[in-house]
Structures are given as C-alpha cells and as structure tokens.
C-alpha cells in the first residue's frame, strides 16, 4: 500500500485541519479526503494528536492546586514591595546617614585644608631686571627653586 498521496502534501492537510485554507481549497480537500484513505488517515491522526494533547493538558492542569494562587501572588508582591521600601529605608537609616555625614565632613575638611595651602605655581619668583625700549622690551626672570634665568623678549 502506498504511503503518500500524490495530490496533496501533509502540510496542506495540516492547514486543512486548522481550517486555514480558503473555502474553495477547503472544499476541494474535503472532497479529496472522501476518496483518499491516506489523506483521511493523516487528517484523523493530526486531529487525534491535538485532542490527546488538549485532553491530557486539561487533566493535568485540573490537578494543580490553584486555591491559594491569588493569595500567594499578593503575598509575593507585598514581600517585594516591603523589600523595596526596606531598602529605601535602609538607605536613609541613621547608621547610613551617619556614614554619609562623616564622609561629607571629611570631604569638607579636606577641601578647606587644601584651599588653605599656598598654590604652588611653577614659574619665576622675581623679575631680576627689565628693559623697555622703543622697538622692544626685555625682561630677565629667575625661577624660584632651580634658579634658572629666563630672558623674555618682546617686540613692540
């Protein structure tokens, strides 16, 4: 006995079973199935598999105890909400507040300390000599630590 139908493939039968074909195609396959035992058998097997799946799933789902589902969900939500508000509360708790305050205090003291220190600007400490002419100006400077002499020349 041949196992495949030469007129229609199994994908078309699958779409037929799902009622996804146009009414014209649907009619053609309905007629075909009456005379083709292969396609008839395939469509029946497809339907039986779906029915078995639906049936078994319903039975299994009925066994699930959903009595306290809503209650459990609300408990879970409240637990999460409390967890969140606790975190927020903890963030501003006295302990943490003190930590933040001490950190800020350290920062302020450091800032004041560093601002009080003289700013160490690298550069000349004094002008040794300067000459201003009509065409140019010369300035002789000396660095503070290394005592390097800098001659600055500018054309006016």
């Amino acid at each position: 006995m041949k196992k495949t139908c030469t007129t229609y493939d199994k994908k078309i039968i699958s779409e037929f079973v799902d009622n996804e074909l146009s009414s014209e195609e649907n009619k053609k396959i309905s007629e075909h199935i009456k005379t083709c035992p292969i396609c008839k058998n395939i469509s029946e097997e497809y339907i039986q598999m779906s029915n078995a799946f639906v049936q078994r799933t319903s039975i299994e789902v009925e066994k699930i105890n959903t009595g306290s589902l809503g209650e459990n969900v609300l408990k879970q939500i409240k637990r999460k909400e409390n967890g969140f508000s606790k975190k927020v509360f903890d963030y501003f708790s006295p302990k943490l507040y003190l930590k933040i305050a001490s950190l800020v205090a350290i920062m302020v003291v450091s800032l004041i300390y560093f601002q009080a220190q003289p700013v160490n600007i690298i550069g000349p400490s004094a002008i040794v000599n300067s000459v201003d002419g009509n065409a140019s100006s010369i300035m002789i400077l000396e660095t503070e630590k290394s005592k390097h002499t800098i001659i600055w020349f500018s054309e006016t």
Binding site: V61, I64, N65, V73, L74
Partner: protein, 191 residues
C-alpha cells in the same frame, strides 16, 4: 453584544488594576489562571513549574499594569507574558540540567494503538490514556519554537495570523512549524 460587554468589563478591570485595587487583582487571577496554566503546562509539561510560572506572570502583571496600553486585549497581553516567562524559565532550568528529563512511564509505550471514539470499553479507555501519554512524552521532545506554536494553536485555538502576531513571525513560518510539529510527533509515535 457579549463581546462589547466583555470589553467594557475588561476596560473596567484594567482601570481598577491600574488604581491598585486588590479585589480587581483577585478577579484577574480567577478569570485567567486556567488559561495561563494551560499555556504554561503545554510548554513546560510540568505542573509545579506551571504554577510557579503563572504566579510570576501575575506578579509581573501587577507591577507592569500601568504600562499596558490596551491597544491589544488583556488576554493577549497575559498570553504574551506567559510565553516569555515560560521560555525564560526553560532557559533557566536548562542551565541547571533539569529540563530535558524523560518521564519513566513514557518509555515503554511506543507501540500503542488508539481506540475508536465509538467503542469506549475499559480497554479503549486505557488505550486512549496511553495514547495521550505517548503524545505528551513526544511533545516534550519537540524543539521549543515548534512546541510554542503547537501549544498556541492546539490549546488556545489561535489562528495562524494570531500566532504570527504573538510571536512576531510570518504566517508561513507558523504553518511550517505546525506541520513540522505534527510530522515529528507522528513519526515518533509510530516508531
């Protein structure tokens, strides 16, 4: 008429949910728990996991109801969240090597016949039950993408267009996946 009433009820429910009314949430759970459990069970094939997934779905709904824009139906939105939760759940368990276990009872039932609907004697009932178990154990072997499409089509009765919209895939892909699911199931049952 009924669909309009349903819609008004749904709008009202969503509004109350957005206002954070606890009793509205209980109504939501009672109304949709069965539908969501079926989808979750169809994908996970595990009762405990299905219950935990649906619980997570409702928690997620509670947290995100304000973002629900109502351009889709509430059931569609819930269905989408459930599918995503199931798939994430599955990935999580896959990492823990717990997902692809085989049920012991499924192993020796590969040569069973189906009984006819007209003849419901104890033997037929037994055969039907065995066939159901055989189908379930083989559905477990279907690749994830194919199984989700099969679940939405079979358990939810969604059209190819609706499935395509839900999963953001083409209608032709839905048809191919369903055909593939049936082909694989039939082959494995007949082996």
């Amino acid at each position: 008429m009924t669909s309009n009433t349903d819609n008004i009820e749904e709008n009202d429910l969503v509004l109350r949910l957005k206002q954070g009314q606890e009793w509205a949430f209980n109504i939501l759970v009672n109304k949709y728990q069965n539908m969501l459990l079926k989808i979750a069970y169809g994908i996970t094939l595990d009762r405990e996991e299905s219950l935990e997934i649906v619980q997570d779905v409702f928690v997620s709904v509670y947290k995100n109801i304000k973002t629900f824009r109502q351009d889709a139906s509430l059931s569609g939105w819930l269905r989408k969240i459930t599918i995503n939760t199931c798939l994430n759940w599955k990935r999580k368990w896959k990492r823990r090597f717990r997902w692809s276990h085989q049920s012991i009872e499924a192993k020796d039932e590969t040569k069973l016949l189906r009984g006819s609907k007209d003849d419901k004697n104890p033997e037929t009932i037994y055969r039907e039950k065995q066939f159901e178990q055989l189908v379930m154990s083989n559905i477990k072997k279907l690749p994830e993408k194919i199984r989700v499409v099969f679940v939405l089509n079979t358990l939810e009765g969604l059209s190819y267009d609706e499935i395509a919209r839900h999963l953001n895939i083409k209608k032709g892909t839905v048809s191919s996946r369903l055909h593939h699911a049936r082909k694989l199931l039939l082959e494995s049952i007949k082996d």
